[in-house]
Each structure stands twice: as C-alpha cells, then as structure tokens.
C-alpha cells in the first residue's frame, strides 16, 4: 500500500511537472502563423496522397533561414509571381499524372459516364475525397461546388472528363489553402481572453512537426471528433504518432533544417583538388548524418548529447572513398563503428559537417567554428566587417604560413578580426585534420597539423575531444530545446515564454535528453497550440534572449 502510495505520488508529481498539467507554465503564445509548405513537405504530401510514383519534377523558391531555421522563415515566406509559375507548372504536372491512364483507376474513385464529357457526380466524389486531405480541414460545400463546376467547364471545353478533373486538381494545388499551413484559431476556454488553434490546425501542427507531412485519416478523425482538444485524446494521438515509423521523417526534417542541409544544394568542391567528392558523396553525406541521428535518437532512444561523441554511424560505398574505410555492402547502407582510437566521433566530424562548412578548395577553421557556435550552441557570430583583408587566410601556399593555424594566428593580429576569431577558431582548428572535402589528413603543406584547442577554459586535443566539449556544454541541450520549439511553432520563443522554455529544458534533462520525449512534451503542451490574442502582440514578440536561452 505504501509502495502504491509512493508510486502514486511520484506519478502525480511527474504529471504535474511534465504532463501538461498544472505544472506547465503558461505561454502567451505567438501570433497565428501562415507557413509555406517546404519543398520536402510538398513532395511528401503528394506522395502520401497519390503515391510515390507521382513525380514532382522541379524545385520551388528557397526559403529564407530565419533565427537559425528555414521553418521559421517559412512563416514569413511569400510566393512571388515568378515563383508561382513554378508552382503552377508542377501542379499541372502532378494533376495530369493523377488522372492519367496509369493512375485514374486507383486515384479516381469512380468512372465517368463518358470519358469525353463532364460528369458532376464523379467529379464531386473525387474532390470530396481529396479536398479535405489537401486542405487539411473539411471542404466547405461551396468550395466543393466550385471545384465541380470548374472541372466541368474545363471538361466540356476540351471534351475530356479527366482533363477537366486535372484542371480542378491543379487549381487546388495552387491555392493558399494547400500551399500554406495557416493557423485557424478559436477562443481558449481555459484561458479567458486567450486563443488557441482549432482542432484541424492542431492536427496540422502536430503532423508537420512529428511526421513532416499532412495529417493522416486517424488524426483528421480525432480533430473532427474533438479528441485533440482533450488532454487524453491529444496524448493518445501523440503517442500513436511517436510510435509510428513516420517519426523518422519528422526528426529528419527538423535536423535537416537545423543542420542547414539545404546548402548542400549549392555545395561545390573543386574537382581537381577533391576529385572524390562527387554528387553521390554529397547526397550520402547528408543521409549518413540523418541516419546516425535517427538511429541514436529514435531507434536506440539515446541521449541527444551523444550525437557529438558517438562512434556509431552508417556507411555507404561512395562515403567509404572519402572516409577511406571498407564498406561491406557498397551498394547500400551498413552499420559502421569508428574504432576507439579514430579521430572521428560524433556528427561534427562527419562529412556532412566538415565538408559543408569548408570552402570549395580548402578547409575552413573559421566556418566550422562559426557553425558549431551557431548551429549547436545557438550563439550568433557577427559577420566580418566589410573591409577585412582575407588574402593571408586564403593563401594556402604561403611558405611562411603553411597551416590554417599559422594563417589564422597572423590574421587575428588585426584587432578588428581578433574578437570573432577568438570565438570561432579554437573549435574550427580542432577539425583541421579534415580537409575541405572532409578527408582525414595529418599534415598540411607537409607541416603536422596541431588540432588542440581550448574553449571556455576546457582544453582538448582534436576533433573527437571537441565533440566531448560540445557534449558536456549545458548550452548544447538548451539550444536544441530552443530550436525544436521554434521549429514546432514556426517562430522563435517569445518574451513571455521564458518560464515555459525553462520548463521544457528541465523536462528534457529529466527525460535523459531524449528527443522523442521532448517532442511529446511539446506536442502535448498547451503552449504548442497557444495563440496570443490580437492586440497582445508585445508579449508575443520574439524574445531578445530567446534564441540563446
């Protein structure tokens, strides 16, 4: 009985602290967001809805990285007229595939009376089925009616029922309702005067956070039934989604964003200097890190901090070339563990980091140090002054300064440079054993590389020990909390969310820095769905310290 009581009290306390109960500090919420679908989300939604064989050929306008995340930039994204042309083109291509002879039998739920004439009943059945899924909320009757009318007119003019259907579908794919995930709000009964997301917006927010795609049928049903407004119903859905294999996609999307993998699209290496850095290597480098992350965080329910020290990863044939290791399955992925005495440990030493944060023809201790600070510690490093002379740093053949350390030491003698380089260089120089393509080296211009350093009074030797320094830095975990919450709500934490952020950080620590648990804490919280009432925007302005708390 006593044991039962003790357990009961502990459970109640835990619930109070981290179970979205009364222990959760109130968040004022942010302004409602209108977030543009990322390209990956667009592709995933089309694949989920119509199948993976429907090709989305082309690219959309890139998003602007804001407060460290594209997903926050997506909340401030517009679509220009030229960018819209691309959406139009792709929408037409997708729609044409959906109704073509290879797919219509599966994707169109009925057969028209005639292939060459409008059929309102069949068109209505089609749009009634896909409409709510594309718009992520019930289709209003007048919208459905308009879609049927439009496709009917198109079908009549070209004497082709399916062409008419494609016309209507392409139109849907170009609407703001599809291209933007808009926050629809309603008064919050638990916070008089406050607002919260309505059930369907909750479903979308949940789904794009956890799965990086549209809500599935079960989630839409939960929204329709009001389950998402109850703690119990919400928790049930969140648990279901966290247990799904689709969680991988959600976690991958977040880390792709946080790690800046969009810049791989424009990454170029000098083929003379780094012939082995071919496109398949660049592709696999991202995949390796994402697999390392999902294996550790999801499959093994590991500690987030261990991402900076883990020697376990995966390897592909192309990557084996640059890592210079044997790969037992060159045409696929195999688990790989770097030996204990290997200089590589943690994702900072993987190609996706050291190659991405380098110049096309040389490594860059500065870019790497800056990236560690900004990505993993949420510390903003100021841009260099406009009049800085980089000639000395760029001259890798200077006989007087043969290593990056020597060049940067000379460069830092300029007072305008010293301040920032003092922040960046020690971390970056620890990664100098990896050249601009991420290949291991022991010398630069025949001079042995000194990869030692000191950060915040902690001395270290080489890349693996740098990973340990990042692992042990308390800012590492608070930065992750900050980023993940910002990613979830599409905005940086606001001034009134200071206590809430502390609460999240404490919860993250309490749960052993396990990311799925942090996701659960966020997804089941009130804060995740809170919307600041109009006129109360001062409290929902981005926190001046938010990005660094």
């Amino acid at each position: 009985m006593r044991i039962f009581l003790r357990h009961g009290i502990a459970a109640t306390l835990a619930l109070a602290l981290f179970g979205c109960g009364p222990g959760e500090p109130q968040s004022p919420g942010g302004a409602p967001q209108v977030r543009r679908l990322t390209e990956e989300q667009y592709r995933q939604v089309i694949a989920d809805l119509f199948g993976k064989d429907i090709k989305v050929a082309g690219h959309f306008d890139p998003l602007n990285r804001t407060d460290g995340l594209l997903e926050i930039g997506a909340s401030r994204a517009a679509i220009t007229s030229s960018a819209f042309e691309q959406y139009d083109l792709i929408a037409r291509q997708v729609a044409a595939q959906v109704v073509d002879a290879d797919h219509r039998e599966v994707l169109v739920p009925c057969s028209p009376a005639s292939d060459s004439a409008p059929d309102a009943a069949c068109a209505k059945a089609f749009f009634a089925r896909i409409g709510p899924l594309l718009y992520r909320r019930p289709l209003e009757a007048k919208t459905l009616e308009r879609l049927v009318d439009v496709s009917g007119v198109a079908a009549a003019s070209v004497h082709d029922f399916y062409a008419g259907l494609a016309f209507g579908l392409a139109g849907m794919l170009e609407t703001p309702e599809f291209l933007f995930v808009a926050d629809y709000t309603e008064p919050d009964p638990d916070r008089p005067g406050g607002h919260r997301l309505d059930a369907y917006s909750r479903a979308s927010r949940l789904s794009f956070l956890l799965w990086d795609t549209m809500p599935d049928a079960a989630l839409m049903k939960a929204a329709q039934d009001g389950d998402l407004n109850s703690k119990r119903g919400l928790r049930r859905q969140v648990d279901r989604m966290l247990a799904s294999p689709r969680l991988d996609a959600g976690v991958r999307a977040f880390f792709s964003d946080m790690l800046g993998f969009d810049t791989f699209d424009t990454l170029a290496k000098d083929p003379i200097i780094y012939p082995a850095f071919v496109q398949s290597v660049a592709d696999d480098a991202q995949e390796q890190t994402l697999r390392t992350i999902t294996n550790l965080l999801i499959a093994n329910k590991g500690d987030y901090r261990d991402l900076f020290t883990t020697r376990d990863t995966v390897m592909s044939g192309p990557l084996g070339l640059l890592y210079d290791v044997p790969v037992t399955k060159p045409d696929g992925w195999v688990p790989y563990r770097f030996p204990d005495d290997d200089p590589r440990a943690g994702i900072i030493t993987q190609l996706s980091f050291v190659a991405l944060h380098s110049h096309p023809g040389r490594s860059s201790a500065t870019l790497r140090g800056k990236a560690v600070r900004e990505i993993f510690l949420c510390q903003k490093v100021p841009d260099p002054p406009g009049n800085v002379n980089f000639a000395l740093v760029q001259d890798t053949k200077n006989p007087n300064y043969k290593t990056a350390r020597q060049r940067l030491t000379a460069h830092r003698s300029a007072p305008t440079c010293a301040g920032c380089h003092k922040i960046m260089d020690p971390m970056g120089l620890a990664l100098e054993n990896f050249d601009g393509a991420g290949q291991y080296r022991t010398v630069e211009n025949d001079v042995p590389i000194d990869a030692s350093g000191e950060v915040d009074g902690v001395k270290f030797q080489g890349a693996a020990e740098l990973g340990k320094v990042v692992h042990d830095n308390p800012v590492t975990t608070s930065c992750l909390v900050n980023r993940l919450y910002g990613y979830a709500v599409g905005r940086p934490p606001v001034a009134g969310e200071k206590d809430w952020m502390k609460y999240l950080q404490a919860g993250f620590a309490e749960n052993g820095y396990r990311v799925p648990d942090l996701l659960r804490l966020i997804a089941t919280s009130d804060a995740f769905y809170a919307i600041a009432p109009a006129g109360a925007q001062s409290a929902s302005e981005p926190s001046p310290t938010g990005a660094r708390s």
Binding site: P271, P275, A276, V278, S280, G317, P318, G320, L321, Y323, D324, V325, P326, V327, T328, K329, P330, D331, F338, D342, P343, R344, Y440, R441, T442
Partner: protein, 400 residues
C-alpha cells in the same frame, strides 16, 4: 580510416575465414617446418624482435586493352594497310554483276547488307559462327618487328617446343628481345582493336567503368611495397560498380565484394616496385555487348608497376589466350564487323595459323596464342563476405 599509405592498410576483411583456409594451412605447415629448422640451428634463441606485420594491397582493374605497338596510320607495323570489314571483303570478292544483284543496284540498306555478308555460307550459314565454311582472302597482319609483351616460351627465336609452335619473335620498343605476342600480330592491323577505333575493346572497358564487374587483384604478405620476395596474389571478380570522379576517372579506395564465382591464387615477388607473378591459368571475366564473357588466359602472369603510395598500378597481363575462349566471344559479336573492320573467316584463319601455344597432341595445331594486355588498376577494399560459400561455389578445378 587512418593516414597511412595505401598499402599499409589491412584492406582485406575476413582473411583466413574460409576462402583462404587451405592457404592458411599450407602457410602453417611451412611455418612449422621453418620453426623446426630454426630451433635445430639454434637461431631462434637469438631472435627476440617480433617479425614485421605483413601487409595487404587490394587493386581493382580499371582498364584492359591489348598491348598494341602503334605508329601513325600504322605505317611501320601495317605497311599493307588495315583490314576491311567482312561486308567489304565479301563485296570485293564478287563480280560487278553479282555485286549489283546483291545490293539491288546499290539500294540495299547497310544493316541489311551486313546480314547478307554475315549469312553467306554455302547454305546460308552465319560465317562468324561457322568461319571455316568459306575461304576469304587472308587477314592483313602485323609486319613490324616491335611489340610489347614478355618472353613466354623462354626461347630467343621462337622455335617449336613441346608446349609451343614455331613463331616469330618481337622486340620491345626499348630493345628487349624474345617477345611473344602473336595476338598482336593477328589483330594489330584491325581498326576495331587499334587506339583510333578500338570499339571492340572500348565497349568492355566502358561497361567496366559504368557497370561494374571489375577484376580484383589482392596482394597479401607484403613486407615492403618496393621489395617483397614472396607475396600471394589472388584474382577475384566483383559485381560492385566502380565510382568515378567528374572527369570519368575511377576513384581509388572503393569497396568491392568478392563474387562467388572466381578465385585464382598464385605467388609472386615485388622487386623495385614491380610485381611479377608465377604463371597460372585464369579465366578473366568481362561484360560487353550485353553479354557476360571471359578471356581464358593460360600461363597468365602479371607484371605490374605499383605506385609508391599504393593507390594505383599499371602493367601487363601476359599469357596464352585460349582460342576457343576468344572465338566464343567473337562469334557472338560477329555483326560488329562493319564498325570494327574485321572479317570473321579471315580472322579465324589467321588466329589459328599464328597460334603458338598449347599444341593439340593429336593434330599438333596450337590452341592458344601468345598475348599481352595492358592493364591499369586503382587501390580498393576487397570485401570477403561469406567465405565458405564462395569457396564452395567456385567451379571445380579452378580454385587453387
């Protein structure tokens, strides 16, 4: 991953786990005998330092071409000009009236004419599948004295021996005498094998670079990449693709799984960075013209210049090219005579007439022809998976 030179890495995985078990036992036996001798001589008591660890080098062959000595327009080696394609040879044999008839006054399309030229046996036989059913003019062959290659028969003048037929010798461009390369003599004046139009060899090399099927060479027991008195050399086949850089060059350090169907081992030595192997019979697989084929080279030996960093190698594979193996490939690509400019009946006659190795005990005719092939290779990780299966699935008699 480490910063050591290529050849210092233990690139072979799973060595001694099955594939090499017989070799391992053999080695062990040698060791026991050696140990006994050492003890008997009292030497062991004076040896305290540990023996240096043996190293392994894995190589993947990236190109395989007939070693041709070529001069501009073939003036030195082919003074009578280059060979013609089978269609032209055939047309040249016809009277103007016959030619006019078969070409329907010159209106027959090239592809159809090719078929006519191919199926012109007395009973409509395909003359590449049945090259002896017609008598075409002799093939133009190399008249020059220079060639690449090695002395395979050990003679200075190419006189007949129990294992060879009489033949002429070549001299290498840098003066080495006694060179055997009758294969070059046969095809050295044929456009399809020459550098300018080497379609018949470019095709397999292109497939090798784009589709995989590399031949692997694994050198084990290396003391020093410049000099090692006794190394083991194994030949494997892999179906894993090769990775190229943006310029199309095969990159070093790819991983290749050993396919289960090929395994040949021999011994060799490295002197001043040149690997030379003891001759063995090897079937070298290749893929070309949508077919899997092989070159069966008897007494095959390797002479490879190993780059000091171990990342690449280049040299020769020399031996006696089995004529049946050669023709089983030719009869299937016979239709290429129009682009490669060979004539199947003439080529068949020439290669048999000039064959100089492995005389048939009954007829005395040689069944293989001396040949030299230039090869290039890059370093690679050779992956031995399920070694037991690999050993069991190798063709009987081919695993040594």
């Amino acid at each position: 991953m480490n910063g050591k030179p290529e050849w210092e890495k233990g690139v072979t995985m799973g060595i001694g786990k099955g594939t090499f078990a017989p070799l391992f036992v053999r080695r062990l036996r040698y060791c026991v005998v050696a140990l006994a001798l050492l003890i008997a001589s009292g030497i062991l008591t004076h040896v305290s330092a540990e023996p240096a660890k043996k190293k392994t080098l894995g190589l993947a062959i990236t190109a395989w071409r007939t070693a041709l000595y070529e001069t501009p327009d073939g003036k030195e080696e082919c003074p009578d000009g280059l060979t013609l394609g089978g269609d032209q040879v055939w047309l040249n044999m016809l009277t103007p009236e016959q030619r006019d008839k078969v070409t329907r006054h010159g209106t027959v399309e090239t592809t159809q004419l090719r078929d006519f030229a191919l199926e012109r046996g007395p009973h409509g036989e395909d003359v590449c599948w049945n090259p002896a059913v017609v008598n075409d003019p002799p093939q133009k062959t190399v008249q020059g004295k220079k060639s690449y290659g090695v002395n395979l028969d050990g003679t200075d003048d190419g006189h007949a021996t129990p294992r060879t037929c009489a033949h002429e010798k070549f001299v290498t461009p840098d003066g080495a005498r006694g060179i055997d390369n009758q294969w070059y003599r046969v095809i050295g004046c044929t456009y399809g094998w020459r550098a300018a139009g080497g379609y018949t060899e470019e095709m397999p090399n292109g497939e090798l670079r784009d589709g995989g099927h590399p031949i692997l060479v694994e050198i084990t027991g290396i003391d020093d990449l410049r000099n090692s008195t006794n190394v083991e050399v194994a030949f494997y086949h892999s179906t894993d693709g090769m990775i190229k850089d943006n310029a199309g060059n095969i990159l070093p350090n790819s991983s290749y799984r050993v396919a289960k169907d090929y395994l040949y081992t021999t011994h060799g030595s490295i002197v001043d960075g040149v690997l030379t192997t003891v001759p063995i019979d090897i079937h070298f697989p290749f893929y070309a013209h949508f077919m899997h084929s092989e070159r069966f080279i008897k007494d095959a030996r390797l002479r490879l210049d190993l780059a000091p960093d171990g990342k690449s190698a280049a040299g020769l594979v020399a031996g006696y090219y089995d004529l049946d193996s050669f023709w089983s490939y030719m009869e299937r690509i016979g239709e290429l005579f129009t682009v490669a400019h060979f004539d199947c009946p003439a080529l068949y006659e020439a290669v048999h007439r000039l064959a100089d190795g492995y005389p048939d005990p009954k007829t005395g005719e040689c069944t293989a022809i001396s040949a030299g092939f230039s090869v290039t290779a890059v370093s690679g990780y050779i992956i031995h998976l399920d070694a037991k299966t690999a050993q069991a699935s190798a063709p009987a008699g081919e695993v040594r």
